[in-house]
């Protein structure tokens, strides 16, 4: 399988990364090289094999559904590029 330029643009859009025309052609070559390399997995027979999602040899732990932290808006907003009162500020989304 080989990615065409339009697919590279579509992936970039999904990934929210702006790319120019020069970058598209470079990325196209690199992404195809990587996909070509991982293609060898198709030769492995995985019938009856469960997917393994993680390295932990355990069932994910659950905790009580109760507050354990909070009341620290200044700390949370300290790195905000822009803020209004206790909110993160972004360009207008709805007119």
């Amino acid at each position: 399988m080989s990615l065409d330029a339009a697919t590279v643009r579509r992936i970039a859009r999904l990934a929210r990364i702006r790319v120019n025309d020069d970058e598209v052609s470079v990325l196209q070559g690199e992404l195809n090289a990587i996909l070509g390399y991982v293609e060898q997995l198709s030769e492995v027979d995985v019938s009856g094999v469960e997917p393994l999602s993680g390295g932990a040899q355990m069932v994910l732990r659950q905790r009580e559904d109760q507050l354990s932290d909070g009341g620290i808006p200044e700390q949370i907003l300290a790195n905000a590029p822009d803020r209004e009162m206790n909110f993160f500020a972004v360009p207008k989304v709805v007119e």
């Binding site: 702006r18 995985v46 997917p51 393994l52 993680g54 932990a56 905790r63 790195n79 590029p81 360009p91």
Partner: protein, 491 residues
Amino acid sequence: MSIFDLTIAAAAKKLAAKDLSAVELTTAYNKAVAALNPRLNAYITATPDLALEQAKAADARIAAGTATALTGIPIAMKDLFCTAGVRTTAASRILEPFIPPYESTVSAKLRDAGAVVLGKANLDEFAMGSSNITSAYGPVENPWKRNGSDAKLVPGGSSGGSAAAVAARIALAATGTDTGGSIRQPAAFTGLAGIKPTYGRCSRYGIVAFASSLDQAGPMARNVEDCAILLNAMAGFDDKDSTSAPREVPNFTAALSRGVKGLKIGIPAEYRLEGTNPDILALWDKGIAWLREQGAEIIDISLPHTKYGLPVYYIVAPAEASSNLARYDGVRFGLRVEGEDLIDMYERTRAAGFGSEVKRRIMIGTYVLSHGYYDAYYLKAQKVRNLILKDFTDAFTKVDAILTPTAPSAAFGLGEKMDDPVTMYLNDVFTVPASLAGVPAMSVPAGLSADGLPLGLQVIGKHFDEETVFAVSAAIENAAGFSALPEVRAK
């Protein structure tokens, strides 16, 4: 003997005996950082004033008789661990202005043990790389040189700054993180010991996430004992990490003197790869002989899915990265580039903030998780990952530990292996399988290549059996008697 020759264990003895103060030790290291870092670029942010304050507190603690094995020990902290009040960049432009309001669990544990942090060590951007050349803050120079050559070599990656700092003695030890080899490969390239513990052994809380099912913190140091001392402090259950293992932490230093008599050591046929440096294959044979001489039983084993480790890794890790790195959008922290609307702001921010390797991996991850390709790539990779785990669990019914080389080559030159991303990825061929299986693995410096560069051997153990990994690694270290030093170092 220079102050820089001291290991953690030796320095701790001198500190306890008041032959040396923490302030003296830290001052010497601060000076060495100031002298050598402009050349090596091992630290993104040096914190000499903070280090001196911590050293003063360490001296007070030593005087009060409440010191630990790490009190007053100056270390480098990989700039992937969030440190409260100290800029944490993950070597990315997108986090250039980021000052965490909180501390990672591992760095907090080291701080609580009294360790002194000299600064934040350079790395590949978001820990994605095997050479430290993807850092937005410039590459790191390996303090080692090939015989008769001045060419700059890479320190490996992604924990390349940590590795270069410890090797050049501008840190006594360092923290690293390992997702597919990022502790073990740079340790091998710089003549250090470094261990990736079992997945779940060290908390991931506060470590900038790359691939959450693989990321694991660990120590890098001049010898195996120092790694054990550090891991004693770094490991342990943490409620803030959902995959943290609720297990007691054994005393790793106590395992060092166990020896290997009667242990069964597996030698996997699939790691004898074509194209591996012959010096490395010869060193592997030496390692086998050393363990046999010390009473271990050597057993040939097979890990049949080894060759699929890298392709699985280069689907799974980018998939998780594309999800983890979605948070960098210019809204809550980090860089923002204004745009015509919200989406445009996201796209411009991420285009300006991420380097090319990070963009590549996010794009691959986005693709393999996208509608219509998920089953063919991501699900398939997860299934093969299970077969790789099974390779190890089968092998560990017959053997106690596995011995392999750490990397297929010694440190390479800055600018080499840059032709295409896949060539660079091949560096991780021996380290990735243990990461995918979640088992502990350690690199031990064991010899030099024909052109004078350090080479490492890798010891892989069962889940949560770091003690056997330490015992075997210590046995190799004793037999190898590795004492070579890099050309560039504090003296």
